[in-house]
């Protein structure tokens, strides 16, 4: 058995209590997903599975990788006889295993409920499970990369939150710049949501013997647009996972617990989110408020009130943009 195989076994065993807690919480959360359609048919609300999967993709990177955001820990982990990328791989695979196990339990839960309708959708359910595990794992990989761009756990959590809301912010931004709605930009969690919707419609249609009316938002969307963004988001996740291994190999332990100055972090996020949230303002007080918010964001970034010249230059440019919109 190789070192990484031994470590995977060790680490997975160590994380079993966490897995057990996740399963219990997921089951409590999904305890009442069944709606009686009143004609002897039932509706299983797949959003419970979707929310659980999304939460796991967002939270698991913190549990799996926070140990690498502590300088003291790295003295041990990086001197151990295992290649760094394999170390990261073990933690990623452990996360994927957790996702697969938790979703499998919820999937069995769904099977037992859908079975009340007399079955008929087992193939769709199995396919849904496989696709959900794949997409949630990709999402987990993406957010793991995002988390590891930070040099501290606190910054990592903020980055995850920022990246989770970034697609929504952009969608709103493009809605504003193009009055006919603009393009639909789906984050990976958005894709998971739409995929759930897609499967839910099919599973319910088949298992309800047609009594369930297919009413998905996807039916109204262009399939080509959906698949374009599905492929795009999958590619982004695969790219992020590749970058995760690359950056983990080059992780400078002396920078851990220091300011998080990755280009994928505050440095880019603060101006990008600020610009994405740009909208015409009529009140000068709002301009001041926006600038104060940006200043606070930079204080969090720099961990102090002493900012760099570049930060002030960005704030001045942003202020001018806002004033032009008055």
């Amino acid at each position: 058995m190789t070192t990484e195989e031994r470590y995977f076994r060790y680490h997975f065993r160590e994380t079993l209590p966490r897995l057990a807690i996740t399963i219990v919480l997921a089951l409590i959360f999904c305890s009442d997903p069944l709606l009686d359609l009143g004609v002897g048919k039932y509706l299983f609300d797949f959003n419970y599975i979707l929310y659980t999967a999304s939460m796991m993709a967002l939270c698991m990177p913190v549990f799996e990788f926070r140990m690498f955001n502590n300088r003291r820990n790295l003295d041990t982990w990086f001197s151990l006889p295992i290649d760094r990328w394999k170390l990261a791989l073990v933690h990623l695979l452990t996360g994927v295993m957790h996702i697969a196990i938790v979703l499998a339990i919820l999937f069995l839960f769904a099977v037992s409920y859908v079975g009340k309708n007399g079955g008929g959708a087992w193939g769709w359910l199995l396919l849904y499970y496989i696709v959900m595990v794949l997409l949630t794992s990709l999402s987990f990989g993406f957010f793991s990369f995002v988390f590891l761009q930070a040099n501290s756990t606190g910054d990592g959590c903020l980055f995850i939150m920022d990246y989770a809301m970034l697609p929504t912010v952009f969608e709103a931004f493009f809605d504003r710049v193009s009055l006919n709605g603009g393009p639909v930009i789906l984050g990976i969690n958005g894709v998971i949501s739409d995929v759930t919707q897609l499967f839910e419609d099919r599973i319910l249609t088949y298992s309800s013997g047609g009594s369930w009316i297919w009413n998905s938002a996807l039916t109204k969307a262009e399939p080509a647009t959906f698949f374009f963004y599905l492929v795009l988001d999958v590619l982004i996740c695969v790219g992020a996972i590749y970058l995760l291994f690359r950056s983990f190999n080059r992780r400078r332990s002396e920078k851990v617990e220091d300011v998080s100055d990755s280009w994928f972090g505050y440095r880019t996020l603060i101006p990008v989110i600020a610009v994405a949230m740009l909208q015409p303002v009529r009140n000068p007080t709002l301009v001041l408020l926006r600038l104060i918010m940006m200043y606070v964001a930079y204080i969090i970034y720099r961990r102090g009130v002493r900012l760099k010249h570049s930060d002030y230059i960005i704030m001045i440019i942003y202020g001018i943009l806002l004033l032009l919109m008055l």
Partner: protein
């Protein structure tokens, strides 16, 4: 051939150069003492040569293989100045973790070393004193018995008995084929214990020539006098040591040997015998002068 080769190693933290162009070859089965004041870069040096940090430039080879490879690190163990353990970790948990990476770790040796220090296996390490934690990691290191052992400020927190025992382990490990690099800012801990010493000062190692020149500037004489001599008689010499037993004086002085002999002649001794100096006898002063202030004695 089993050795550590360090070639052109340099590292900076931003604009602050910590180590610059270091070259070193550590011989097989050697105990090498690394000495420097706090902040001189000893810990950074050990982190670089253990693969924890990646140097800005240069390379570190163990038996010709880069430390960047996981397989190479199988041959080494780093005991950092404040080693990691997760909350609630017991000594047995720690053993299980290290067994994952070092399957050859010997449970009997670990248990024996833990028992010698009366360390509990099932108690959380967070409830251990610093010295007890250190002894637990020392037990791990010697139970693993890797080819290369890197110890950062290894004496910190150890009581005198534990220190003596630790030195014995280190010496036994070297005798059994391990090569050990041990850092300390306390010279007295390393004096007379290591086979060789490295002085880290101002981003570089003090060169062996510098150390040798300094050591060669001392001479040791044994002198016999008609009357019992006093230390005041040697006031004109730059004395490093002076021991008087009856009418015999043994002195170590620094300076030009010709001048020292002239001064000794003027004292009219009955007998003059030149002795060899043991490195440990003058190590402290030599090191202190080369490293500068801030070294604990």
């Amino acid at each position: 051939m089993e050795l550590i080769e360090i070639k052109n190693l340099s590292h900076s933290f931003g604009s602050h150069v910590v180590l610059k162009d270091l070259n070193l070859t550590v011989r097989d089965n050697e105990i090498l003492g690394l000495i420097g004041v706090n902040g001189s870069g000893k810990s950074t040096f050990l982190r670089l040569i253990s693969g924890v940090m990646t140097p800005d430039c240069g390379e570190v080879l163990y038996d010709g293989q880069s430390v960047g490879k996981g397989a190479t690190r199988r041959k080494l163990f780093l005991l950092s100045d404040d080693p990691f353990f997760a909350e609630g970790t017991t000594a047995d948990d720690l053993y299980a973790l290290y067994k994952t990476f070092y399957p050859e770790i010997r449970r009997d040796v670990y248990d024996q070393l833990m028992a010698l220090s009366a360390l509990p296996h099932k108690k959380s390490l967070s409830k251990f004193s610093k010295g007890m934690r250190r002894q637990t990691f020392i037990a791990l290191a010697f139970a693993i018995a890797p080819k290369f052992i890197l110890l950062d400020e290894a004496f910190d927190g150890l009581d005198p008995i534990a220190r003596a025992r630790f030195k014995e382990y280190v010496r036994n490990a070297a005798n059994n084929g391990s090569t050990i690099i041990i850092s300390s800012h306390a010279l007295r801990e390393l004096e007379g214990f290591c086979d060789n010493y490295l002085i880290l000062s101002d981003t570089r190692f003090a060169s062996p020539e510098m150390v040798e020149n300094k050591v060669n500037s001392f001479v040791k004489y044994q002198l016999a006098f008609e009357q019992t001599p006093t230390k005041e008689m040697f006031a004109r010499l730059n004395l490093h040591k002076c021991e008087i037993v009856g009418r015999i004086a043994t002195i170590i002085a620094e300076g030009s040997e010709d001048k020292i002999i002239m001064e000794i002649d003027a004292l009219r001794p009955l007998m003059v015998d030149r002795l060899e100096i043991e490195p440990g006898e003058i190590l402290l002063d030599t090191m202190k002068e080369l490293v500068g202030g801030g070294v604990e004695l």
